[in-house]
């Protein structure tokens, strides 16, 4: 559809100042739209702050690959402009294979990525150990994806928003949105922000504003250490991750550690469904760290300075919802990014604004349209 010509205060009202909302605001402003971002708390303070900030090309499905790959290229385009505090670093990912079975997966991935033009390199046991001396001995090997990177997400979100603001975008922060409609956004003080199009970019909270969409909270724990430069050099992810992260029914943990540009080590990851309490669960944290220690025994000696939790916005097919919200003309979604919101924020913004302006997109948009998972009626 095309953007309706209206007498509204803004062409676009984006609810949610996480990295997805901020990226959408920047793309909208860059495309000449008048835009307001409404954030109840801190820019990049929700799942954006809770996540790792791993910019990664994924291969779960063709659609997931297409969006992550496209998004990563968009990140690379802006990389040299990013301020220092975004801490962009192309450290690469190593998918770690513990055994022969996982090494077969490494080979499959190598083919998959190579066929699609992503540079990768297989590491044997010795090369893996040389790349990451703090991994335990006895691991089988890994796949290095050198183009993957890490960022510090809250500052990335703030940068995106600042860019939008420099192009005229407005920010309303510290105010909660209580309802969305075709006419705009109703705030907790009963005032209304009228907008041609409203976008729900509130992550795991998005079903509160657009009931009926299938977005579930998926809780995660993370831990950050003091500074140990060089202790970890690449983002390291176990290949068992694929098996466990795919499990929708049960809680899972995976070895997933990240070198921060500060020299700190970020240790993950855990996934839990059906838990709404953000409190840190000692047992889950213990399981997660225990898994990390299996791969990297020396990690137990690092000083842990903070732990936290966050909620991913999970969809059944692990693809985000980007586009018109079924049942509404002028209400759009940019949510459901699960653990890939930092990576795919840039691509999401393009795909969303492309739809609003009737532009053609760089990748097919059908797999991400909310209508794909909305067979049932949604009450208006």
């Amino acid at each position: 559809m095309t953007l309706p010509m209206t007498s509204k205060a803004f062409d676009l009202a984006i609810v949610g100042g996480g990295i997805v909302g901020a990226a959408c605001a920047w793309e909208a402003a860059r495309s000449g739209l008048s835009v307001v971002v409404i954030e109840r708390s801190v820019i990049g303070g929700g799942a954006t702050a809770a996540g790792m900030g791993h910019i990664v090309v994924m291969d779960d499905s063709e659609a997931q690959f297409a969006l992550t790959r496209y998004s990563q290229q968009l990140w690379q385009e802006i990389a040299s402009d990013l301020p220092d505090d975004v801490e962009y670093e192309e450290c690469g990912t190593i998918w770690v294979a513990a055994d022969e079975e996982e090494m077969i997966e490494v080979q499959r991935k190598e083919v998959f990525y190579q066929e699609r033009g992503v540079a990768v390199e297989i590491l044997d046991a010795a090369a893996l150990r040389q790349s990451e001396p703090n991994l335990r001995s006895g691991l089988r090997g890994g796949l290095l994806v050198p183009g993957d990177s890490v960022v510090y997400p809250p500052c990335a979100a703030r940068y995106f928003l600042e860019q939008a603001q420099s192009l005229g975008a407005q920010l309303r922060s510290g105010v909660a949105v209580v309802a969305l409609s075709n006419d705009g956004v109703k705030l907790s003080d009963n005032s209304l922000i009228s907008a041609g199009i409203t976008v729900n970019a509130t992550g795991s909270w998005s079903p509160l504003l657009t009931p009926g969409i299938d977005v579930q909270k998926r809780k995660g724990h993370l831990l950050i250490t003091d500074r140990y430069p060089g202790f970890v050099r690449h983002q390291l992810v176990e290949l068992g991750y694929l098996k466990s992260a795919h499990s929708i029914s049960s809680d899972s943990v995976a070895f997933n550690v990240q070198p921060r540009k500060t020299g700190q080590v970020l240790i993950g990851s855990s996934r839990q469904y059906g838990v709404g309490d953000p409190k840190i669960e000692a047992a889950m944290l213990s399981r997660m760290l225990s898994r990390a220690a299996e791969y990297m025994p020396g990690i137990t000696q690092l000083s842990a300075i903070r732990t936290w939790t966050g909620f991913r916005a999970a969809t059944p097919d692990k693809l985000p919802l980007v586009g018109q919200c079924p049942g509404y003309d002028r209400l759009y979604l940019a949510t459901g990014h699960e653990g890939l919101g930092i990576t795919t924020s840039t691509g999401t913004a393009k795909l969303l604004i492309d739809q609003l302006l009737n532009r053609s997109s760089a990748i097919p948009i059908a797999p991400y349209l909310p209508s794909r998972v909305h067979q049932e009626a949604i009450h208006a």
Partner: protein
């Protein structure tokens, strides 16, 4: 109980009265800094009671150890950010 203990700080032997904290030993050793800050500034203890983390050094290979809270022991190996 001996009256003094000997430890090494940045490779140099330092003798301090028994019961001294590692922070004291580092100060006596004349090391320029206990640690370097994120931007490379020299830092030394502020609170003296284990809260500020400015006195962090590496003791027996354990980095980020608060020197003001650890009592010197014979043979300890202490490294600071010089």
């Amino acid at each position: 109980m001996p009256d003094t203990v000997m430890l090494t700080i940045n490779g140099h032997p330092v003798i301090v009265p028994d019961g001294s904290s590692v922070a004291t030993a580092v100060a006596i050793s004349g090391a320029m800094a206990f640690r370097r800050s994120v931007h490379g500034e020299p830092r030394a203890p502020l609170c003296g009671m284990g809260i500020c983390f400015e006195c962090r050094v590496t003791i027996n290979g354990q980095s980020h150890t608060r020197s003001c809270q650890i009592v010197c022991q014979n043979g300890m190996d202490v490294q600071t950010d010089e």
